[in-house]
Symmetry: C2
Subunit: 136 residues, 2 copies
DNA sequence: AAATTTACTTGCATTTTGCAAGTACAAATA
DNA sequence: TATTTGTACTTGCAAAATGCAAGTAAATTT
């Protein structure tokens, strides 16, 4: 089992205790891009997470209600991971991280396109994206 | 010295490579609350960071241009740490983390007050707070 | 029936974290 | 002026987390 030990009652600290490790937000990013992923999909991401770490993080995020597992409609060998509402609600944080990164790094052009869309109308982007993630 | 190895060119990943560890955002949080802190101030925070980890993180954040050191005006024994513009620009991310935490945790009342102010007018809050952090 | 895919687990080396103690310089106190 | 205290670290070592390679078990494909 996974221990959820809070370092303090501070909102930043409590949040980091759930997803403030090296990998969790990348898993969540994948789910925001793809809406649903199999275990293997996560392993394919370019940052190359180790399989045991992936398993541990998925467990942690599920225990904390950020993601859920469900059966794959076409195969019993596969599992689908999805964001819960709690996970979907991390979108504004992700958007702000993207904007910060856009200001201080040189990003690949395919990322820039999305960010330019955000910059045009942040609220609209978030609203639309949340809607997308919520149905399904 | 500190190694800045990027796992990928993804904005989320690049950002996490700088401040995506267990402690950095808590250091940044302290600086956002206090505007400037000494080494000892950070050690006093309720999460109780270990002194060697603190030294390592401060070094990392300074190397990456998120914070700066300056002489304490009243004592050569003390050092003042402050946010750079790059650090101040993390404020919107912090605000969103607070809002997420507000939705999913029960927070202490003194934190709630600040968050209620944010909820009234997020843009205004951020603008005002950035102004505050920028002068000095 | 055998090989392959999928989602993991296991074992072990490496790296990071945490704790306690130590150091060096500045400042306050006796 | 000598000694103690404060401040910002560093060092050494144990514990925990991470990373890598290989293994397992059930489902699917061949």
């Amino acid at each position: 089992m996974i221990e959820i030990k809070k370092r303090s009652e501070c909102p930043i600290s409590c949040s980091l205790d759930i997803w403030g490790d090296k990998w969790s937000l990348l898993i969540i990013r994948d789910l925001m891009h793809a809406k649903q992923c199999t275990y293997g999909d996560f392993l394919k991401s370019e940052e190359k997470i180790a399989t045991n770490i992936l398993a541990a993080r998925l467990q942690m995020l599920e225990t904390n209600g950020v993601i859920t597992k469900q059966d794959h409609p076409e195969s019993k060998a596969k599992v689908l991971y999805k964001l819960t509402q709690k996970g979907i609600d991390l979108l504004p944080i992700m958007v702000e991280i993207n904007l910060w990164a856009d200001k201080y790094f040189t990003l690949p052009s395919e990322r820039k396109e999305m960010i330019d869309e955000v910059k045009k109308d942040k609220e609209a982007f978030i609203k639309e994206k949340i809607k997308e993630l919520s149905l399904s």
